[in-house]
Symmetry: C2
Subunit: 477 residues, 2 copies
């Protein structure tokens, strides 16, 4: 699974290229200091350790362009990096020139009447949420790493998170982009327009391309009205089927006010209660599954009543067995914490084999059942913990061992287990990477499972980056 074992391919980087890069970016624009490089050349989970001859720190788009042009002329590869929170090794250099966008963190414009803001790639997500709030607007992208993830990287990986159900993936939040193309050309596609049918929508190619087609330097983002009231319920259920039916019902009753709908099994709750201090179960008895259901409303009046109406109908239809409604913001944070601590609690529990997959919502229950049965035949002691964004058909489908010996035995079967999961995903018309991307972790899986797609992607890559200098080991590498 890890790329750390394969020897990096060091890049022969002529001294004059280094000198030209240093001159183009000035003394603040580069580093070769091992201490400074350290956090940039390893991923945050410690799975990938890399190396780079130089870290570039451009301060503006012109400097990005100048540096890319120098690299392009010399045929030198570049790895662009945002907040370095990739889960797939997409931003760890293995000998490439490394470029961090962190100095480019200006908010260029906030335009509340157009519901948009234009920001530079190095802005941290959490600060952008605050920028939007200060203008009386909502920027809805919301995910675990929001305190360090940068918007350029979030766009380059088309990040997901908990509000996709209502507001869409990052792709749907981007109105316009500015980027430096592989030959150093600055492409000025910043626009606050909702409608612009003037040829191929080029920004769509850069979104989710993981830095292989150019470097995003700025973006114009969609803003939304801030909800006047949010309501949250923590519900106990018997099955995934019931959760999916409850989702349909909640969407219908609330008229699309459902902004998050997350599922977790009892075992995940057990892990959280065991490993995360200060957590407690909001419900009195135990249930096989739990759902966190969030609704957002434009008016305070009727908000609580709408949630209660949805829960009432769900009880009536025997889709949920019990529910607690958050009475205030602090209780809402407590409920959210149960969901958001699962990854942390799993680490406390020990090694897991993880899969970030999606399935059509209507087939989710059947998938979880069948995949679980198949995994039992490969490794009977493995326990499935499937949790996450069931409203989007996206679950983090992880297999855990309940003690260390089991975990070791499970790792030996890791490849077989993952192949079984991915094969079943394919049968159900699902995706082997719902929101984390490909990086270097899944590039072989992608090539094997989507050959026609990959052939078209390679043709596009060749057309836009004929020298193959943009993040070459990632995605198609």
């Amino acid at each position: 699974m890890s790329d750390a074992q394969t020897p990096p391919r060091p890049q022969a980087l002529p001294g004059d290229v280094i000198a030209r890069l240093k001159a183009a970016l000035g003394p603040k624009g580069w580093s070769q200091d091992a201490n400074e490089l350290g956090p940039h050349i390893a991923d945050w989970r410690g799975r990938f350790q890399g190396q780079t001859p130089i870290l570039l720190k451009p301060a503006n788009t012109a400097e990005v362009s100048a540096a890319v042009r120098i690299c392009h002329e010399a045929g030198i590869a570049i790895t662009p990096q945002g907040g370095n929170t990739s889960l797939c090794g997409a931003s760890t250099p293995q000998g490439e020139v490394l470029m961090t966008l962190k100095r480019m963190n200006a908010v260029r414009e906030v335009d509340p009447d157009n519901d948009s803001m234009t920001v530079e790639a190095g802005c941290i997500l959490e600060s952008l949420q605050n920028t939007a709030a200060s203008a009386g607007r909502l920027f809805p992208l919301s995910l675990g790493s929001q305190g360090s993830a940068m918007i350029g990287g979030l766009i380059s990986t088309n990040a997901g998170g908990v509000h996709v159900l209502r507001y869409g993936m990052t792709r749907e939040l981007v109105l316009g982009l500015e980027a430096v193309l592989p030959d150093g050309t600055i492409w000025s596609g910043l626009t606050g327009l909702r409608k612009d049918n003037t040829g191929y929508d080029l920004k769509q190619l850069l979104i989710g391309a993981e830095g292989t087609l150019g470097i995003i330097t700025a973006a114009t983002l969609k803003l939304f009205p801030r909800p006047a009231k949010m309501e949250l319920a923590f519900c106990g259920l018997n099955s995934v089927e019931d959760a999916v039916s409850f989702l349909s019902l909640a969407k219908k009753v609330s008229g699309g006010a459902v902004t998050a709908f997350e599922i977790m099994p009892r075992l995940a709750l057990d892990f959280v209660l065991a490993f995360v201090p200060g957590t407690r179960d909001p419900l009195e008895s135990s249930h096989p599954w739990y759902v966190v259901c969030e609704m957002s409303f434009g008016r305070v009046e009727g908000a609580r009543e709408t949630l209660e109406a949805a829960l009432g109908e769900a009880f009536e239809a025997e889709l949920i067995s019990d529910a607690a409604i958050a009475e205030n913001e602090s209780q809402a944070l407590d409920f959210w914490r149960l969901r958001e601590s699962i990854a942390l609690a799993e680490r406390g529990q020990g090694t897991a084999i993880k899969h970030d997959i999606s399935i059509p919502v209507s087939k989710m229950a059947a998938f979880i059942k069948l995949a679980g049965e198949r995994i039992k035949t490969i490794f009977p002691d493995g326990v499935v913990v499937a949790f996450g964004h069931v409203g989007d058909g996206n679950v983090h489908y992880n297999i855990v061992g309940l003690d260390e010996a089991t975990q070791q035995a499970m790792l030996a079967k890791g490849t077989a287990i993952s192949s079984c999961v991915y094969d079943t995903v394919d049968e159900f018309g699902g995706s082997i990477s719902a929101e984390h991307g490909i990086g270097i972790l899944k590039r072989e899986e992608l090539a094997a499972r989507k050959p026609v797609d990959v052939a078209v992607m390679r043709a596009i890559k060749q057309a836009l980056d004929p020298k193959g200098i943009m993040n070459p080991r990632v995605l198609l590498g």
Copy 2:
């Protein structure tokens, strides 16, 4: 403006290619009958008259693939055609082989629990709205030509319409695509997934490509909950500024329930009242501008109150001067008819010089003012009628003459007037084609105004269609 004057480039189509195409599609799969060809080789507004050596009518994706492969091998160009409702000449062949998708009109699957349906390219929009309704869901795409426009063409041109404000352009309604690529390869990208981060999102390239990168054969479309209640108001206002402020207020008060927000000037209402039988002004006195504001709600309770609250606050803030609320569905249809008859009424009024443009919503008022002043200096007798989807920043910015002599004089200044409009659009960061596309009508404007974009588009076109056989005269032609 019209391409009808430029001599078509007849394509030398060898007899054996014709024979192979006929054999591949069978006797029902082609026509060379002049009567049958007639409506397919002229556009519906009568601006473009074309020709074709043969009309192909494939019944399924395999037949599309077979025909494209034959054309690809022989280097023969193809124009794909849906409902032939293009406003820009994108589907009128000028010697190309013409392929209609009209026989491919099956609904392959409706999956209400996944809020999706998979349909073939030849399905007519109105019938798809009904298909969704039968499953208790909403397919929100809605526009004037919905009785004949086909979904393949709507996707190929990324159609807009009146519900973009809430549900997005066609692009945002497409989850997956199946298409035949320029070499005849079938690309199977049908998926009902909300989240799928496995490389470049190839469907995005085909959406809005106007048939230049391949032929869309089927699509998986997003469905939504049906609103339990819709409310509609027809409002009189003093200015575009006030309309934009009213929109912000209505979005905020209703929490995003605004699903349409259309503007029209008094003159447009006058045209409609004069030329469209059975229409009447819902308001007692005259106002410089009018807005049709639609809200959609998941619950009946509180719906009317929300609209009234928004109108009340708008009165208070002196953003609107008068308003009528539709008391029933028939009255709502009457209000909508005032807006939707403008194009028809304009034809009654005589020739107009039309522009389908978009501007950031916050700059719309300033744009309309400045562009109007500039047009006065070119042609003082021209009267601006700007109407449409102001909530998306998209207006149909038309110049009319009030009598025939003025219209003739205006046409002589047509190029200067359009250049002035487009130059002003550029200054405001707008788009010269918001929803109608480029076709053959605006390809020179596009090439002149977005050279970097067009260079990248050409590189992509060359990579995917090296022989240049897919709708070659359109967009980049």
